[in-house]
Symmetry: C3
Subunit: 163 residues, 3 copies
């Protein structure tokens, strides 16, 4: 163990703070704070639909205004996994994203982010982001990239008696 | 990177453990363990109603007995952000707090904590806590401090076709 | 602070990654990846029913196939607490486990894991795992070990006016 290990730990903490700050900034709709967490040339893809892709910090900031269609949101981030090398890092995290519409209906996403971050003068910033979804409640309608899930082998049958 | 950086990382981990232990202690209603995580002179504000404020460890311990009105609870903590300086630290975290009443009805809060912690002989303790809520399901009734959320600029309209 | 402290922090991060990788592997039903996170002689107990206990990595891998009865799942891990000593560690974590059946019905568990991990040549692995539940929604039927929760003292009455 030496200085490299210490730097790696500090990087990991810093990256976790970037991801948490994204959630907090988004839930408070402080879009300037959110945009500052991304590189100027960032590429963000929430889903395959063109409206769910943003190229560049300025476009992302503007595109995220769509969250004003909700009355309230809550983005709970967890399950952080980081692979860092020098000034670049890959991070996978989970997010439970709860959204409430003005009519009181809600939409909850159980998904996550696959990120590539870059260390810049101002700290770690998200350069590439791809959102995935493991699932969602019935109220959630946006076509987020589905996470891959392997299917059972041919002939598999559920154990009896389990629900 | 040097000893200061290592201490900062260790402090951060220790603070995260305090916040997790709060959740675990509360869900098991081990109020002695919960109270031990706070300074003797702590000030805790869950909301603006006087019944949601506690002054001092002993009062807090007694006030938290109100959670016995629920049959079960689950406090899931995430999104930790820490700013530490010497023997003092500020932490912001998120919590999804699920509560089940004896009649089976549930109340879920999507919120968080803004904490000031102090390093004491026994370790980091919460000296000031303010809970905030980003949202809650329809069953949640307690008037927790609402988190600030910026509104759209005048004339903003939601993009067509998005729900 | 010295090398021991640095190793402890690195161990903690590595353990958190193991627990996160379990969730991600399970949600993607990559059971080879999941099984590789456990020691060959692992013992896993999700509940007191014999069908909820697995002895050994190979049996665990096979037993986890039962999750194919769901269409999608999402395991959100948080609240990590770790006590490590040498090549052994105890970890407690929380998990919100969302499951969706082919008929669209869902089952959500609010629980966690009490783990004993061992450092092996390939890294930290889970040697003993015991799942607990603080609660669950009405759709969740599996008899996971209930977490202990202390009851109120005799004569305790809920404060008036609180719901």
């Amino acid at each position: 163990m030496e200085e490299g290990a210490l730097c790696a730990l500090a990087d990991r903490v810093a990256i976790g703070e970037v991801l948490a700050a994204y959630c907090r900034g988004l839930d408070r709709m402080d879009l300037d704070a959110v945009a500052a967490l991304f590189t100027e040339d960032c590429a963000v893809s929430f889903g395959s639909h063109p409206a769910l892709q943003s190229a560049g910090r300025e476009a992302l900031r503007r595109d995220l205004e769509r969250l004003w269609r909700f009355r309230r949101t809550a983005h709970h981030l967890s399950n952080l996994e980081v692979r860092a090398a020098g000034d670049s890092a890959e991070a996978v995290s989970y997010v439970m994203a709860w959204h409430e519409r003005p009519d009181g209906s809600t939409a909850t996403l159980f998904g996550g982010y696959e990120d590539m971050l870059r260390r810049e003068a101002g700290g770690w910033r998200i350069a590439r982001r791809r959102q995935f979804m493991n699932g969602a409640d019935a109220g959630f309608a946006a076509p987020i990239h589905p996470a891959p899930r392997r299917g059972p082998p041919p002939g598999w049958a559920p154990p009896p008696g389990l629900r």
